[in-house]
């Protein structure tokens, strides 16, 4: 057949070279059927090379007149895979057939398995490459409006729909790595995640913030047993991680003293004499209030050890360790505790303890403590030497109130006594300041309602 109108009417679509080292390839699937109109740039087939399945585009406008090579057959680069009739040309399949080189004609091309014609309003991802991309980027294509021809979803559509990359500062990434924090859980407001976000998260973790507990719906009050078990396991892990880190990294020191509570408890009894259960003050609240005020008089124990240096707390946010009957513990925070009166401290403490035990604490009530108080006041324990919750630099441990012999004015008396132990992070604060704190704490206890 000589050159002429008929041959002008045929444009070959050949096996492309998709890499410098590609010599042959095979059609995985045809994405067009015979008779389909195609445009320059449309993906018309998926081709398998030695390495990959790749989308293959067509470089001409026209109508597909014949699919020559069926899927699965390996052919050399340059082999005609299909014939196109340019727009405006009359397809002449008879002529075309005569022109087809002797390749792959032994088996007639079967009906392509996955041919479809996109219809308006219906979104489809046709190519495995794009399907893979959508999966990798977590894009749900079912809800995507394609911008391609006939509503087809394009690579751009998928990439636009993908979640914007979370922005995390280099320092935040480093701190997260060092503290074992999963950056995907970090909250940062509208900005990028920065170092402080990680450190806040670390301090929340240190207070054994275990999210499954937090997520118990308020109206349910009690999580299903299985959830509680899961939560307990996770809390155990969190405690394990934080306490191990604290024990390994923080050079603890302890200073301890015994405190005569006679005056304190007498004042408290007087205070409670005409109070109902709803307004009564417990010794625990007196201890918390005194501890908070002592922290303002020795600010060196109140704050965080961050990234190699001590950052003083701008206020006293007192963490209160609450042991859970289900195992584990939480340390909700009385914020600005030193600025509040005893009654407010009692109210908040009662509220926090109750909600801690009923799984209704908010995350914001957990983090951010600048110093922590732990009391084992209900049992037989005389004294406790606690472990600091990083990044805090001090924790005050109180034993149970017991009657003990007490030397007073050269006489032996029996007094209600509590053993107080202050554990300090020696990197940040020295023992002298720890003992000053205990002295101040003792003083405040003598005037509980002042």
């Amino acid at each position: 057949m000589p050159d002429g109108a008929a041959s002008l009417a045929r444009v070959p679509f050949t096996m492309p070279a998709l890499g410098a080292d590609m010599d042959e390839g095979s059609i995985v699937e045809w994405l067009v059927a015979e008779g389909a109109h195609v445009h320059r740039g449309d993906v018309v087939a998926v081709v398998q090379t030695d390495k990959n399945d790749l989308d293959v585009e067509v470089f001409a406008d026209g109508t597909v007149t014949e699919l020559v090579v069926p899927p699965g057959e390996k052919v050399p680069v340059g082999t005609v895979l299909a014939w196109l009739a340019p727009n405006g040309a009359v397809p002449n399949t008879t002529v075309a057939s005569a022109q087809v080189p002797p390749v792959s004609l032994a088996a007639p091309a079967p009906e392509p398995a996955t041919v479809y014609e996109p219809t308006a309003g219906e979104s489809h991802v046709t190519s495995p490459v794009l399907r893979h991309l959508a999966e990798a980027l977590h894009v749900d294509t079912a809800h995507l409006q394609g911008s391609g021809r006939g509503g087809r979803i394009t690579r751009d559509d998928i990439e636009h729909a993908a979640q914007p990359r979370r922005r995390i500062s280099p320092r935040a990434r480093r701190l997260a790595r060092e503290h074992g924090v999963d950056t995907s859980t970090l909250e940062s407001g509208t900005h990028a995640v920065v170092g402080e976000d990680v450190l806040r998260s670390v301090s929340m973790l240190a207070a054994t913030d275990v999210r499954p507990v937090m997520s118990v719906p308020a109206q349910a009050h009690v999580a299903p047993r299985r959830d509680r078990q899961v939560a307990a396991v996770e809390m155990r892990r969190a405690i394990s991680r934080v306490m191990t880190k604290a024990w390994q990294e923080i050079p603890h020191y302890q200073v301890a003293t015994r405190i005569d509570l006679q005056r304190c408890l007498e004042s408290l009894a007087a205070l409670n004499s005409d109070r109902t259960a709803a307004t009564r003050i417990l010794p625990a609240a007196v201890f918390a209030h005194a501890a908070a005020r002592a922290a303002t008089s020795v600010p060196e124990v109140n704050g965080h050890w961050l990234d190699g240096s001590f950052v003083a707390g701008s206020s006293v946010h007192l963490g209160i360790v609450v042991a859970l009957r289900t195992g584990g513990l939480l340390a909700p925070v009385i914020r600005h505790a030193a600025d509040k009166d005893l009654f407010t401290v009692m109210d908040e403490m009662r509220d926090l303890v109750t909600r801690a035990r009923t799984g209704r604490l908010r995350a914001s009530e957990i983090g951010d403590a600048t110093i922590t108080l732990t009391q084992l006041g209900e049992g037989e324990v005389d004294a406790v030497v606690p472990i600091i919750h990083p990044p805090q630099v001090a924790i005050l441990g109180l034993g149970a109130i017991h009657d003990e012999p007490w030397a007073h004015d050269g006489m032996l008396a029996v007094r209600p006594v509590v053993h107080a132990t202050l554990c300090g992070d020696h990197r940040a604060v020295d023992g002298r300041l720890g003992s000053l704190f205990l002295a101040s704490f003792t003083r405040f206890l003598q005037e509980p309602t002042s």
């Binding site: 922005r167 995390i168 500062s169 280099p170 320092r171 935040a172 990434r173 480093r174 900005h191 990028a192 995640v193 920065v194 170092g195 402080e196 240096s309």
Partner: protein, 327 residues
């Protein structure tokens, strides 16, 4: 006791002192003698020290800078004054190909203990051939040392260590600073190659030098009103750069902004930014910001020149951007 003086007087005092105490010192440059110096820094010195030591030169930057190099090689301690940094390009061959290289290419045999002083910077509506800040260019060249005094103390006391240096030292004096007054301290200045924290702060490190220092300090004060506590580092030397000081500051504040009157592209601010990335990347909470001169030849018209130069407002805006940056 403190004395108040201008940076001009401080530099003149420094030159006087050097001339008085070291016979090897002489001053050479265009109009340094009879005219009293284009910026009056050397005013009065001709009368005091005579024409042998206060040498007016022809308008031959390459020859008299080269002469300074040769005299320094031959035992003298010349102070060469170039009127402006733009004119120094006429002597760039001597500065780059000779002063900076002689020690190295002679295998350590030849030293060039030369001091070259020149004015730099814009802000005086002197347009596109008298206003640029090319100290960053010179800082590119190994073999040179580049000092950028910003305070009366540094104007008064940087010259002597520069003269004592066995290698060529370029001192870039921002022209707007000559009239700036300040208290002359009694204490010796820190070594000239150390940066100094001029203002402490916790939130961001502002790194600057020379004519931009006061603007940066003013910006830091303005930012304090917004609750942004900025630390300001005065580099004082662009070569060598005191990495230790500004990197330590950035490690503490986690944010940095460089203020540099040079053009942004290929500038010393680019170098500092790169070094912060190299040394403190994992301490950063935001990309390093920069406030530089607009990338145009310096325009004449006041409002255009103002817009081209770093200003307190631009520095404040730059800081806000870094503080709010999505990293």
């Amino acid at each position: 006791m403190t004395t108040t003086m201008t940076c001009r007087d401080a530099m003149r005092e420094a030159i006087r002192e050097a001339l008085l105490h070291d016979d090897r010192v002489f001053v050479m440059g265009e109009d340094v003698g009879a005219y009293g110096g284009c910026f009056a820094v050397t005013k009065g010195l001709l009368d005091e020290f005579g024409p042998r030591r206060i040498r007016d030169t022809p308008l031959s930057e390459s020859a008299f800078v080269g002469a300074g190099i040769g005299a320094a090689m031959n035992g003298m301690r010349p102070i060469v004054e170039i009127m402006t940094v733009n004119f120094s390009l006429l002597a760039l061959d001597q500065i780059m190909n000779n002063a900076a290289t002689l020690r190295h290419m002679s295998g350590g045999q030849v030293g060039v203990p030369l001091v070259i002083r020149m004015t730099t910077g814009g802000g005086r509506q002197l347009a596109a051939q008298h206003s640029h800040s090319l100290e960053g260019w010179y800082a590119h060249i190994p073999g040179l040392k580049v000092l950028v005094p910003a305070t009366v103390d540094d104007f008064r006391h940087m010259l002597q260590p520069a003269l004592e240096d066995p290698d060529p030292v370029l001192i870039f004096e921002h022209a707007l600073l000559y009239n700036a007054e300040g208290n002359l301290g009694d204490d010796p200045i820190p070594p000239v190659d150390r940066a100094v924290v001029r203002r402490t702060g916790h939130d961001i490190t502002l790194i600057t030098y020379g004519g931009s220092l006061q603007k940066t300090l003013d910006a830091a004060e303005a930012l304090a009103g917004e609750g942004i506590d900025a630390e300001v580092v005065d580099l004082r030397s662009l070569r060598p750069l005191d990495d230790e000081t500004y990197i330590a500051s950035v490690r503490a504040t986690h944010r940095a902004l460089v203020v540099d009157e040079g053009w942004r592209t290929g500038s010393i601010s680019a170098e500092i930014s790169a070094r912060i990335s190299e040394a403190a990347f994992f301490d950063l909470d935001a990309p390093v910001g920069r406030v530089c001169s607009a990338e145009v030849p310096m325009p004449y018209a006041k409002q255009l020149e103002d817009a081209a130069l770093p200003s307190v407002e631009r520095i404040v805006a730059g800081v806000r951007e870094v503080m709010a940056t999505d990293a």
